[in-house]
Symmetry: C2
Subunit: 319 residues, 2 copies
Amino acid sequence: MFKRVEEAHERIRGFVRRTPVMTSSTLDSITGSICFLKCESFQKTGSFKFRGALNAVSVLSEEQKRKGVITHSSGNHAQALALAARLFGIKAVVVMPQNAPPAKMVAARNYGAEIVVCGSHPADRERAVLPLIKDFGYTLIHPFNDLSIIAGAGTAAYELVDEVGNLDYVFCPVGGGGLLSGTAIAARGLLSSSVKIIGVEPENADDACRSLKAGKIIPVESPNTIADGLRTSLGHKTFQIIKERVDKIVAVSEQEIVNAMRFLWERMKLVVEPSGAVSLAGVLSKQLDLTNRVGVIVSGGNIDLTDLFSALEKSLKIS
Amino acid sequence: MFKRVEEAHERIRGFVRRTPVMTSSTLDSITGSICFLKCESFQKTGSFKFRGALNAVSVLSEEQKRKGVITHSSGNHAQALALAARLFGIKAVVVMPQNAPPAKMVAARNYGAEIVVCGSHPADRERAVLPLIKDFGYTLIHPFNDLSIIAGAGTAAYELVDEVGNLDYVFCPVGGGGLLSGTAIAARGLLSSSVKIIGVEPENADDACRSLKAGKIIPVESPNTIADGLRTSLGHKTFQIIKERVDKIVAVSEQEIVNAMRFLWERMKLVVEPSGAVSLAGVLSKQLDLTNRVGVIVSGGNIDLTDLFSALEKSLKIS
């Protein structure tokens, strides 16, 4: 599997942004370690998802490209696939749950995707996708349970290690598990065997914790978390990879997610969405006794700022 | 003067953060140019001010260091001087207007400075500073009208040009004029003589426009702008440098400042304060017909996020 990450890296490196690695002396003194944040919030389309989508579209046959691609996504994968498809001049259809953030729907449409709205239960997504595939011959680009997507996602950790060298821990958010799978494959391929790979998920969507404990996938029903990108449950491919390559899953509360997000905004001047702050929430939760060098995948920055800026504009008018 | 910037660069480079230069293909297509944003929001203490403060403290005599330093500042220079003084183990006193953002007062105190609160009129600041200098022998480190401060501020543009090479325009915010002076000196020292140096200020604090037009300093009285770092007027040193080295000052409305800030947050995922977004507001205002390569100094990211995060936490509790 590591070879697939290396190949993905070579394939997409000219088209993805090599995102900056940020550090903070305040963070280091709080954690007693040296933290390196790989800021995928600066990736094209605002999240790491562009890496997997571009890799997956790149390897399609000419016939598949001619017919177009389809996916279901709460948002970031949708934008990512829409832009990847546009770069190849192919059609993209995105099935989105009705409770997806409006800003993400608009963004996917702006990248040229056709949007189909479905119910908010995870099962509704696949129910909407299947007849469209049957009728139009679209290729499904699954948001996480797909080896090309996983390999593409792993290129973020690949770049991180390439830039900063040895790491003793790598923290990564886990929703469907594509990013965590790719991160674990890349980190285990590049780093010493003593590296600890840590997945972090919201307590309110802790299917990865429970699935690993049970030894089988236990999906969460209607997860209620501010981290909207992590409401999905593991797929069978990501479950297998995570079971073999991840040392521990830690769960964080909603308040811990907001606190981590606030640290990123206020102290590090980074606009990061709740799902993107979850890995740092895991670092700050002190569930592990950290030392030495810690890699942190900050996965995305797509958050609806309409309310914030409406309030700002209102304050201009009354001042 | 350029030699002073080069010396400042050598003196402080090991202690300041070499801030990233960010780009955006969306911004490039909106402006019809290639924009390079030097993000001093990521500088230590959250703004470019740390460069000047560190340079100014570095060159003090042992006697001056023993007695300590004092300044007046609406905020960012205060934090910067507090940290610079702490690094040298010397005392820092900061006189702040009572209407300075509370987050900035707290930050300066957290960096170890002693805070003295004064009235909100620009003249109140100097009235509070003078007796303290007389009684305690502090050295005044003026926030902008000081050649060491100006040279230090110029190291941001120095690094920008060092990293990206030729630029046809450099946009820089102007309040007291320290950053614009340093930027103009650095850019004119490194770039071809055809480079255009553009200062940008709020329409509601347009003393630089009016002063250059009148040929003498015309301070603004009680400027009312969201860009709190740019409420100060030019000093006699910065006025002289700007007169000789800056091609044009453009003024932007409060709405244009908010729009630029929103672009930085939403599209570029950068937390930038209003004053820091003013240079981009100048680029986006289309008052100049831009082509080719444009450098933009994004000066700081210190903004009080208390209201935003209070609202977020409240939404957690009711969800």
